[in-house]
Symmetry: C2
Subunit: 76 residues, 2 copies
Amino acid sequence: MKVRVHVSLKPGVLDPQGRAVHHALEGLGFTGVQDVRVGRLIELEVADDTTDATLDDMCRRLLANGVVENYRVERV
Amino acid sequence: MKVRVHVSLKPGVLDPQGRAVHHALEGLGFTGVQDVRVGRLIELEVADDTTDATLDDMCRRLLANGVVENYRVERV
């Protein structure tokens, strides 16, 4: 089974990578960009009987940093 | 308007970060994980009249490396 984990910084947490991308887009002449945030997209191939609780456990223990990041698990 | 750009490595391209995560999950006792790939999730706040062509241009010129990465644009 394929699972996608979307990890993004919580609102209010400073995102230097996002700011750099924002700046670079402006430098390339793209106007109208108001904000850029960069997160991670983790695609896992797991056993079909993997429970939601196990996936959540993976996120909390390794894939996301709960202090500054939100995550969302999506079964594909 | 909010836009999400999903950037992932093309199949066949070596993903050391994904392998490290895979290894770490096994080390934590999670069994049944067959594969892990790590990509980027870029969230942009852009002007409402931004066209698909402009978004595609941003991806090709800055957000994704077309040689080794695929990207998908999603309007939220």
